[in-house]
């Protein structure tokens, strides 16, 4: 298999402004960004709660969340498919094969990632930040915010990590999205389809975009961390 030829075609596809390819890219970004927007506040709060509040069953819950980190996305997809199918319990919502279904799937996939990483970031925080805030008269919420700001780089890493996972996952998107052109075809499902059709140029073009976005996200993270990332 000649690798250069399809790669060359890939670049010309991308830069000739092929609308179909760019649509796929925007669908991918849209779905993953909305999912992260929804999941981040919930999961960060949950992670903080788990790290700071003792309650019965906490240990089991932490283990469960960490176990879910390795949950295969196809299993999430399958469960969600069964729930959203018209014969399933939420069938009347008509969500199967929509972007909303993909967003829900990605939320489920991202949630344990953000929770687990936030948890370990908060646990590793200097307890004096919290104590100082409280001694200066901060309420529970204000003190929590102080701690989270203290460990913001850890929390950001959690969010970016989760974004990386949902942005590149295929199993769930394929199952609940259905890979419909112009509606639910995102970068990973399109790569799988184009490869199955033997259209390697399109696959490579989309692979380049996937890598570029992943690199861009990490670059942005490093840039925003700036000197603060140094210890």
């Amino acid at each position: 298999m000649d690798l250069l030829q399809p790669t060359h075609e890939a670049f010309s596809l991308l830069f000739s402004g092929n609308p179909e390819i760019w649509r796929i890219i925007f669908i991918s970004l849209r779905v993953s960004l909305i999912a992260m927007l929804v999941v981040t506040p919930l999961a960060v709060a949950a992670g903080f709660f788990l790290a700071t509040v003792a309650f019965p069953g906490r240990r089991a819950l932490v283990i469960l969340i960490q176990g879910l980190l390795s949950s295969p996305t196809v299993v999430v997809g399958l469960l969600l498919y069964l729930l959203l199918s018209r014969q399933g319990p939420f069938g009347s919502w008509h969500l199967l094969f929509t972007q909303e279904a993909m967003i829900i799937g990605q939320i489920i996939i991202a949630f344990p990632v953000v929770v687990a990483f936030t948890l370990s970031a908060v646990q590793g925080a200097d307890p004096r930040a919290h104590e100082t805030a409280v001694s200066l008269g901060a309420g529970t919420a204000r003190a929590a915010l102080t701690t989270l700001l203290e460990v913001r780089f850890g929390v950001m890493a959690a969010v970016f990590n989760a974004f990386g996972r949902v942005f590149s996952e295929i199993g769930c998107s394929l199952m609940v999205g259905g890979n419909i052109l112009g509606l639910t075809r995102n970068i990973p499902t399109a790569i799988a389809l184009e490869t199955s059709k033997g259209e390697f140029a399109q696959g490579i073009a989309l692979g380049i975009v996937l890598m570029a976005v992943a690199l861009g996200v990490n670059y942005a993270l490093a840039f925003l961390q700036g000197e603060g990332g140094l210890k």
């Binding site: 849209r30 960004l33 014969q87 890979n179």
Partner: protein, 275 residues
């Protein structure tokens, strides 16, 4: 600089979320169709649907899977119309009340393809069952779709008639679509059963040759079925029927006949004129 980057990120974020990604909420008129991989992989739907979509000013949302899965989606009411090729399963689907108004649409045929070297010397034979008996001796690799698609069901049927239980290192159950299996057969220099349409679209990419063809047992008819509106009142029955009427109309049938890959016609219209 940092601020500007942050601002740019936020703007981009908002644009994406508010629909720069051109989210088209599925309009009520949209038709959801599950179909086999052959109609999509061969390029037929890409050729047919834009014409229909311009006419009905709606969108046909295509979910391209194996016939087994395509019917399953219809059974669950997750689509409005199915376009598949496995007559016994289709009849069962209608008999069980999942679908109504089954119509013939078109046909092509199955072919047995393999590498140009053809180690089993099947080239030019006409009896598919005899060929499967030879394949069953296990002297060369055979790739099976293994996904309960129409092609897979036909292949199982051939094994049964040949009295062979396909098992062993020579029998590769891929669990993939037709195009992927053809690509795999090209890479592994293996034999496989294909529909003529998908093979036509992949011939130059895989370098496989047609070895066995022309057996009446290899006839491959496609049917279109609307999902039963009594079972799923919120299915787009009207849209499904409109699509069925169009694809079986003179215009739709003519388009099917006109569709060619490398100058070769891949599907042959077969809708009955009287309906």
């Amino acid at each position: 600089m940092k601020r500007r980057l942050l601002k740019a990120l936020i703007v981009f974020f908002v644009l994406c979320v508010t629909g720069w990604g051109a989210n088209q909420a599925t309009a009520a008129k949209d038709i959801r169709m599950s179909t086999t991989t052959s109609t999509e992989n061969s390029g037929l739907l890409g050729y047919l649907l834009p014409v229909y979509e311009a006419k009905c000013s709606c969108k046909v949302r295509v979910i391209s899977v194996g016939t087994g899965k395509a019917l399953e989606l219809g059974k669950n009411g997750d689509v409005d119309v199915v376009l598949v090729h496995a007559r016994p399963s289709e009849d069962k689907f209608v008999a069980e009340g999942h679908g109504v108004n089954r119509s013939d649409v078109m046909y092509n045929d199955f072919i047995l393809v393999g590498s140009q070297t053809d180690p089993l010397r099947l080239r030019g034979t006409k009896d598919v069952i005899a060929a499967f008996k030879i394949l069953g001796e296990g002297k060369a690799k055979f790739i099976s779709r293994g996904d309960n698609s129409g092609t897979d069901q036909m292949e199982k049927n051939y094994w049964k008639q040949a009295g062979v239980e396909p098992k062993g290192a020579w029998f590769i159950s891929a669990g993939l679509g037709m195009g992927e299996v053809l690509t795999m057969a090209g890479e592994l220099q293996a034999y496989t059963l294909s529909d003529r349409a998908t093979y036509g679209a992949y011939r130059s990419k895989t370098g496989l040759d047609i070895l066995v063809q022309g057996d009446p047992k290899m006839f491959n008819p496609y049917g279109v079925i609307a999902v039963n509106p009594k079972k799923y009142p919120d299915a787009n029955y009207e849209g499904a029927m409109d699509f069925i009427n169009w694809i079986t109309s003179d215009e739709g049938q003519k388009r099917i006949a006109e569709f060619k890959v490398d100058g070769e016609q891949l599907f042959f219209p077969s809708a009955k004129k009287d309906n």
